[in-house]
């Protein structure tokens, strides 16, 4: 049923912004802290609260939370497949998620869109022995789902089924992974859908901004600068043979990490997995080389004309690696700067102080190589310059001055106290384990999370701000109508006009 919810107040999820798959977007809501969840782990507030209410709250006492997250088992099957397992008998459900090491970064530039297309048609096209119609009917009648996709740096497959239908679900799931048919008519259908989506990108100012910004940040020829969906030219060049070959190159059991959770018996499920994937041999995969991103900062300004009454602003530069040892301080710094929604400096000034925008935030998006740092906001044309200036001032201030002890304490407590929300369903716990291994993080990442958060100091924050925030080397993109801007954009540097096709 659709609730006509119009005015959702906050923008908390910014992760849809770019289609980098194995990224974690550094926003407060999605990041929460380690094991053991006592209040004693929180730091005492550095200052007396400023309001009467705050002072009353600081005197409230809370019982410690008693919670030990369930233990997830890691098993490696004979065929090389890594499996994370968590039994949970509270509901008659079964969930499986898989990550396959592949991605659009490995497709040739002239076939931009190939990986994404293959990832879609694997499921929509059915298998060698089962037509798409048969699969759809079987799955939907038992209220199950199997979905596959390939994004920039990862392939994903998922199965959700009721306990009583585990066998049926697993058979279809395995068949789709191993034997997709890639029929011509379903390829044509998907191509048509992608083409329509590309045609419609310019209907939405935010989509224009995202697309162009990525091209500005990365070299257009680098796989990170390209479009995962492809372009009108490249889509038509992709053939069925390309897709079959792409699938054949990457889909092997030793290239897959599975996470399973739900109502089953561990030994039994391993037997079932062994059975459905029987005959699927491991293979050494030669991954094409992806050229390294070279870190560089250069100030530039870009403008896209649209006759609308609100500017869409994106500004930023290259960010960090997911495995960067500074990841935690950077995450914390960004929370204070623009990731912590109402508690962040950018939203506080742009929205609360001046009413210039509904949303304004900053994000460090990570990838296998260097990701993107960006600030985004939408504001009426007449305050475009003002909003950009405020964001630049805040970047600069973060570099120049150490954060307040109170700000850091607030940020740390947020991460630590929100930690429990990482464990609210078995499926979400298993999913995190799979992601952690896929991204090459230490396997005890969750177990050491709280300590990593606790260790951060004000000096760390300032050090990473100086290293990873470069306001003088920032790239600024505005989609809007410059006729009504408060000041000309060349205030910030030489403006390059981007013509929309």
């Amino acid at each position: 049923m659709n609730i006509n919810k119009c005015g959702v107040l906050l923008i908390v999820f910014v992760s849809y912004l770019f289609s980098v798959p194995n990224t974690s977007t550094l926003v407060a809501q999605s990041v929460t802290p380690g094991y053991g969840h006592e209040r004693s782990s929180a730091l005492p507030p550095a200052e007396t609260p400023e309001s009467e209410g705050g002072r009353i709250v600081s005197r409230l006492e809370f019982e410690p939370l008693d919670f030990v997250p369930p233990k997830v088992e890691r098993v490696v099957l004979e065929n090389g497949m890594i499996v994370y397992i968590l039994e949970d008998h509270s509901l008659p459900l079964f969930d499986l998620v898989a990550r396959i090491r592949t991605g659009a970064v490995y497709e040739p530039p002239e076939k931009e869109g190939l990986a994404n297309l293959a990832g879609h048609v694997m499921r929509s096209g059915g298998t060698v022995s089962m037509s798409a119609d048969t699969i759809n009917e079987e799955l939907e009648f038992i209220a199950a789902s199997v979905e596959t996709s390939i994004d920039r740096e990862s392939g994903t497959a998922a199965l959700s089924v009721l306990k009583k239908d585990i066998d049926k679900g697993l058979n279809i799931f395995a068949d789709i992974l191993m034997n997709p048919a890639f029929p011509e008519d379903k390829i044509r259908m998907r191509k048509d859908e992608v083409i329509e989506a590309i045609r419609r990108e310019n209907d939405h100012p935010s989509q224009i901004a995202r697309r162009e910004f990525r091209r500005i940040i990365y070299d257009a020829s680098h796989p990170y600068g390209r479009k995962v969906e492809g372009t009108l030219e490249t889509i038509e060049r992709i053939t069925r043979d390309d897709m079959v070959a792409f699938h054949k190159k990457y889909f092997y059991p030793n290239n897959i990490i599975l996470g399973i959770s739900g109502d089953f018996d561990k030994e039994e499920i391993i037997k079932k997995l062994t059975k459905v994937f029987a005959g699927w041999e491991r293979k050494e995969i030669q991954f094409p080389e992806v050229s390294k991103i070279v870190r560089q900062y250069e100030r530039s300004v870009y403008y896209v004309h649209r006759d609308i009454n609100q500017s869409n602003i994106m500004m930023g530069h290259l960010g960090i690696h997911r495995r960067n040892p500074d990841y935690f301080p950077v995450m914390m710094m960004n929370f204070i700067l623009g990731g912590g929604s109402f508690k962040s400096r950018i939203l506080s000034r742009i929205r609360s102080d001046e009413g210039l925008a509904y949303s304004a935030s900053s994000v460090f998006q990570t990838a296998q190589d260097i990701g993107i740092f960006f600030v985004s906001c939408q504001t009426k044309l007449e305050s475009t310059n003002r909003a950009i200036s405020i964001a630049l001032e805040e970047l600069d201030k973060m570099r120049r001055m150490p954060v307040d002890a109170e700000e850091l304490s607030q940020a740390k407590e947020t991460f630590m106290n929100q930690f429990i929300f990482r464990f609210i369903t078995s499926a979400s716990i298993v999913r995190q384990k799979v992601d952690i291994e896929y991204e090459g993080l230490p396997l005890n990442y969750l177990e050491t999370y709280l300590d990593s958060v606790k260790a951060i100091t004000r000096e760390d924050i300032q050090r990473v701000a100086r290293e990873y925030l470069q306001p003088d080397g920032i790239k600024i993109l505005v989609v809007g109508n410059k006729e009504k801007f408060d000041k000309p954009l060349d205030n910030f540097g030489k403006v390059t006009l981007i013509e929309l096709k």
């Binding site: 659709n2 609730i3 006509n4 919810k5 119009c6 005015g7 959702v8 107040l9 906050l10 908390v12 809501q29 929180a42 400023e50 309001s51 209410g53 009353i56 709250v57 409230l60 809370f62 019982e63 939370l65 919670f67 008998h89 509270s90 509901l91 459900l93 929509s124 939907e140 009648f141 009721l162 306990k163 259908m189 048509d192 859908e193 989506a197 045609r199 209907d203 006759d307 609100q310 109402f342 508690k343 609360s352 102080d353 001046e354 009413g355 210039l356 509904y358 939408q378 504001t379 009426k380 607030q410 407590e413 947020t414 630590m416 106290n417 429990i420 929300f421 609210i424 369903t425 499926a427």
Partner: protein
């Protein structure tokens, strides 16, 4: 389109384990919600779920845009924002110092508006008033503790912090570690008792930005707003929840405050708790913090009844984008027996790859890339809606005709047993999946209580299970008629051809 926010199931066959959070009655699944009504009329709905020590807390007010009137449309939503601005003890260093300045700010804003609206405004006077206002605001800024309520929740582990406004209600969301219930009770009861409309004028500007974002520059937002404005000619469902631009620009603090007093009283409020807590303790806690808030007289019900539609209505909205299409048919309110069949009809048409619209419009004819149908169940009679994104070179008109063909097809080719059973299996599975999410359960219980009664969830299941193919054909014939429909399209602004009637 948005995924279904809630789902329900029917009789349950294969569930073996006894679950703490619902009871099984004979052959059906039921949520085991405990209810407590306090003396001041405040209702507390509780559902225990002890797997993880969290509590999903909702405060829902039975006040939505349907309760507004022209001139103050959007006030419920504006109010949703204002609830985060603090109270006499939150968000301020010193309310007693702040109060006279807030009054002065209002006075200056009113004087400026009056002067500006004169035939010949005195610019010098305007300038000096504006200067004075800026000085007052400077002093106010020094007293404000920025976004304190939000910050307090965050540092105590609050997640999913948000609020939403709909046509029938306003919803405040907060998920907390289970040991923080008292923090929530203290803050929320204070918001009900001692709210202060501070930073009112800048927040009004924020809402205007939200409006630009969601409707003015979004083709789909624009489409849905116009669809309702044309489909309803008398009932307040016709205005957008965010409000008309001119109303938001001019709404006063006084009007907002008056609206608050009328609709945001304990007797118009429902609190929902789902998670790990003891119900008896929860009742005591809520009594301690909310018990002293006085009840108000019951807010008025909406009296206006949408007159029967007497012919098709159409609107073509010019906008610089590709075409989009939406069609709306009037249907009854929650509680009407036809709602169940209409709900199943929506699923039959567009849930999944085996649904009729997907198979026909997307897969076989390939004239659209998105085509959905759904029944909007609301407090007052609402609508059954079709939406679509045509695939070029196919037009909105082609897709519109294809929708009508599907409707006609239903009458000669009623839903098969397979189709009906599939939908019922899905509803059942979704019910079970829904039990995994404390947050989702809290939303669902609260939403239905706002519309009518949370018990609707439990009866809905059984009623859906009884929907037959004949029921579906009957409601299709009854509601999906030409006379009862409104069609809205987004069309590209075209240059006028010579000889065309302007």
């Amino acid at each position: 389109m948005r995924k279904k926010v809630w789902t329900l199931a029917f009789s349950i066959i294969m569930v073996v384990a006894p679950f703490a959070i619902y009871e099984t009655h004979a052959d059906s699944l039921r949520l085991d919600v405990k209810e407590h009504v306090f003396e001041n009329g405040l209702k507390l709905l509780m559902l225990e779920k002890h797997d993880v020590p969290i509590a999903c807390l909702r405060i829902n007010y039975k006040a939505g845009s349907v309760d507004e009137r022209p001139g103050i449309t959007g006030v419920s939503h504006l109010f949703e924002h204002m609830m985060f601005k603090g109270t006499k003890i939150f968000g301020t260093r010193d309310y007693h110092a702040e109060k006279p300045l807030l009054d002065k700010e209002d006075e200056l804003v009113a004087l400026i508006a009056k002067e500006r609206n004169k035939d010949v405004p005195d610019n010098e006077r305007l300038e000096s008033l504006r200067k004075e206002l800026e000085e007052v605001r400077e002093k106010l800024r020094e007293l404000v503790v920025k976004d304190e309520i939000f910050a307090l929740y965050l540092r105590h582990g609050g997640a999913g912090l948000n609020a939403a406004t709909g046509i029938d209600g306003t919803y405040y969301f907060c998920d907390l570690p289970a040991n923080k219930l008292e923090l929530w009770a203290f803050i929320e009861s204070d918001r009900m008792k001692n709210l202060v409309l501070r930073e009112f004028y800048s927040e009004r500007d924020v809402v205007l930005e939200e409006r630009r974002l969601r409707t003015e520059n979004s083709p789909f937002g624009l489409l849905m707003k116009h669809l309702r404005a044309v489909a309803f000619i008398a009932h307040p469902y016709r205005w957008p929840t965010i409000g008309w631009r001119s109303d938001i620009e001019n709404i006063t603090k006084e009007e907002t405050d008056e609206y608050f007093r009328k609709y945001y009283a304990p007797n118009n409020t429902v609190i929902v708790m789902v998670g790990s807590f003891n119900p008896d303790d929860a009742i005591q806690l809520v009594e301690r913090y909310f018990g002293d808030i006085p009840a108000q007289s019951s807010p008025p019900k909406v009296k206006t009844v949408e007159p029967e539609q007497r012919g098709e209505r159409r609107v073509a909205i010019e906008f610089d984008s590709n075409p989009y299409l939406a069609i709306s048919y009037h249907v009854p309110a929650i509680g009407h027996p036809d709602i169940y069949a209409l709900h199943v009809l929506g699923s039959l048409l567009s849930d999944g790859r085996t649904s009729r619209l997907y198979r026909s419009l997307i897969e076989d004819r390939r004239i659209a890339v998105m085509a959905h149908a759904f029944c909007r169940i609301s407090k007052y009679p609402d609508s059954f809606v079709f939406v679509a994104t045509p695939r070029a070179p196919h037009t909105a008109e082609e897709v519109e005709l294809a929708f009508y063909e599907e409707i006609e097809k239903l009458k000669v080719n009623p839903p098969s047993d397979w189709e009906l059973q599939k939908i019922k299996n899905q509803l059942e599975a979704e019910f079970i999946r829904g039990l995994n999410s404390a947050s989702g359960l809290a939303n669902e219980i609260g939403h239905f209580e706002v519309l009518s009664d949370w018990r609707y969830i439990n009866t809905f299941m059984d009623k859906l299970a009884r929907v037959t193919a004949e029921d579906i054909v009957r409601v299709t014939e009854k509601y999906l008629t030409k006379r009862n429909r409104t069609v809205a399209t987004i069309v590209k602004k075209e240059e006028k051809k010579t000889g065309e009637i302007p």
